[in-house]
Symmetry: C2
DNA sequence: GCTATCAATACCTTTTCGGTATCATGACGA
DNA sequence: TCGTCATGATACCGAAAAGGTATTGATAGC
């Protein structure tokens, strides 16, 4: 078929006025081209769309049907164009965000709500993952962005700090350390500690190690688990104490004491993304996360 | 926008091959026009659809979105064209059929099933109506066709007989006439009859009158109702006897006796339509009803 | 650095589209 | 009944757009 959207547009105008002259005027063309295009349309369709009585024209049944369908087709076409523009501006599309479980208790909920409010037509896919696997998932393009502990400098990966919190001590309520209003590093000497394995969250593990070593303590790790939630649960069973991000205290588990540390170390959450990720929805997401325009764009 | 379906078609071909030369070949044009049309499309949309690396091209996120939407838009467009052709052939559209209630027990079910089987995309609207109002409803265009007792010759109305049946006597089981295997007109003398009012179904009323008068009987109508079903129900209450189309006996009401009449008069069902009704679904409907092509077309 | 490949550009030809003028037709009024 | 008016169809012309051929430009791989 050589039928054209123009012919469809002409036909709709004609069907709505049922008058070649007035329809042509509305289309900003003269009457003869309109007559010709309609004739061509009818010829190419092989369908009589209008009943002309030389006095006034009326739609045939097929014409009425074609009018409805034409309106739909034109709307669908225009929607396609509009969507392309929205997609390029990052206001329409899909964004896949990986995050470590711990972030579900800190920045992720508000970040997600903020972004989804500002960009209602972006489909967001959230994927939980242990921190050490996130950088690779971003670099291979499986995720567009990630929220995790700072993984340090990685080639091709940009990061921006969006959250920082102190570590605190968590111990069973009956533990001797639970009686202290504030805990000093030296007081942890010889205490069996529960922590994440070194490869799962190196930043967090390192922060704990540095803190203890600066007080001359050689830590004893007898029990390890990947998730902070798991660690806290194990502490609740009195299997040891742990240094965890202060936000874990908000979970409201009973039988536990969260105590501040003197000169407490901090851990940061970052949002991370691949340099050169062209998903247009990424920039708005970074903007919602508070990443400065400069560091978002020079990646 | 001056964006064209052609450009969309070109883009889809290009997006599917990701190669200007091969896409152009598939479109039966040479490569330069394709390059130009795609460039024009991107310019008019204001959206970069392809990432060209001079070695091979890839879709941008917006391009991927536009590809999906373009496929939908093109399909919708083609559907519009196809539908117009189907509508003209009467294979798609809406047919409104009025009918007298009595036809629901005779020809209407099989006629409707036949037509809907043969024309699955035609929407059928059935409207019950008392017989005397049907011709006007057709002439004013509210219905495309009607199934009713023969209304006689009406200007602008064509009819074709599609069903004929004898009248029979219906009486209460305890009635004296119920004992007879066959009933003669003379035996109805003085019997109170239930019938339709003269203006509701003149043909039927006249057939009954002629039958009785030919036997020299002056009928006594003490009770009248519009619907044959109502009449039969009243007979079941022993409020009188009635002459009704034989098909009423199939309803299976208990306590009633249906008896054949000697020299029984017949009543016909016709399908009726307005001369010059241009609804394309009407011809196929008349064909399903068994109306000869000649009488359907010369109207 | 050379070559092969592929998209972009230049330039020309053909097609299509729109504009003006005019014609054909049928309704309406004198 | 004839003239007039309204309206869609045709004829013809100029402008715009599309496609074709030849060529250039850029880059990946040897």
């Amino acid at each position: 078929m050589t039928i054209d959207l123009r012919q469809m547009r002409y036909f709709v105008a004609l069907a709505e006025t049922l008058h070649f002259g007035r329809a042509a005027e509305r289309l900003h063309i003269s009457q003869p081209p309109l007559t010709r295009q309609i004739a061509a349309l009818e010829r190419e369709l092989g369908v009589r769309l209008l009943e002309r009585n030389s006095r006034h024209a009326g739609l045939t049944h097929a014409g009425r049907r074609f009018l409805e369908d034409s309106r739909l087709a034109m709307a669908t076409f225009e929607q396609a164009c509009r969507n392309a523009q929205l997609a390029e501006r990052g206001e329409l599309g899909t964004l896949t965000v990986g995050f470590m479980m711990h972030a579900a208790h800190t920045v992720l909920p508000r970040l997600t709500r903020q972004f989804m409010n500002d960009h209602p037509d972006v489909h967001v896919e959230l994927r939980e993952m242990v921190p050490d696997l996130l950088p690779d998932a971003i670099l291979t393009g499986r995720f567009d962005a990630a929220v995790t502990f700072d993984p340090g400098a990685i080639r091709g990966l940009s990061t921006d700090r969006i959250h920082e919190e102190q570590l605190c001590l968590v111990a069973h309520s009956s533990h001797r350390l639970a009686a202290l209003p504030i805990v000093r590093a030296e007081q942890l000497a010889g205490e069996p500690l529960i922590a994440t394995p070194p490869d799962v969250a190196p930043t967090l593990r390192d922060a704990i190690l540095r803190y203890l070593r600066s007080a001359g303590i050689v830590p004893v790790f007898r029990l390890e688990a990947q998730l902070q939630q798991t660690i806290v649960s194990l502490v609740a069973e009195n299997l040891g104490v742990a240094l965890v991000p202060a936000s874990m205290g908000k979970l409201g588990l009973s039988g536990l004491a969260f105590r501040p540390l003197e000169q407490a170390p901090t851990v940061a959450h970052v949002v991370a993304w691949r340099d050169g990720n062209m998903n247009p929805t990424l920039r708005p997401f970074l903007a919602s996360a508070g990443v400065p325009e400069s560091s978002a764009s020079d990646s």
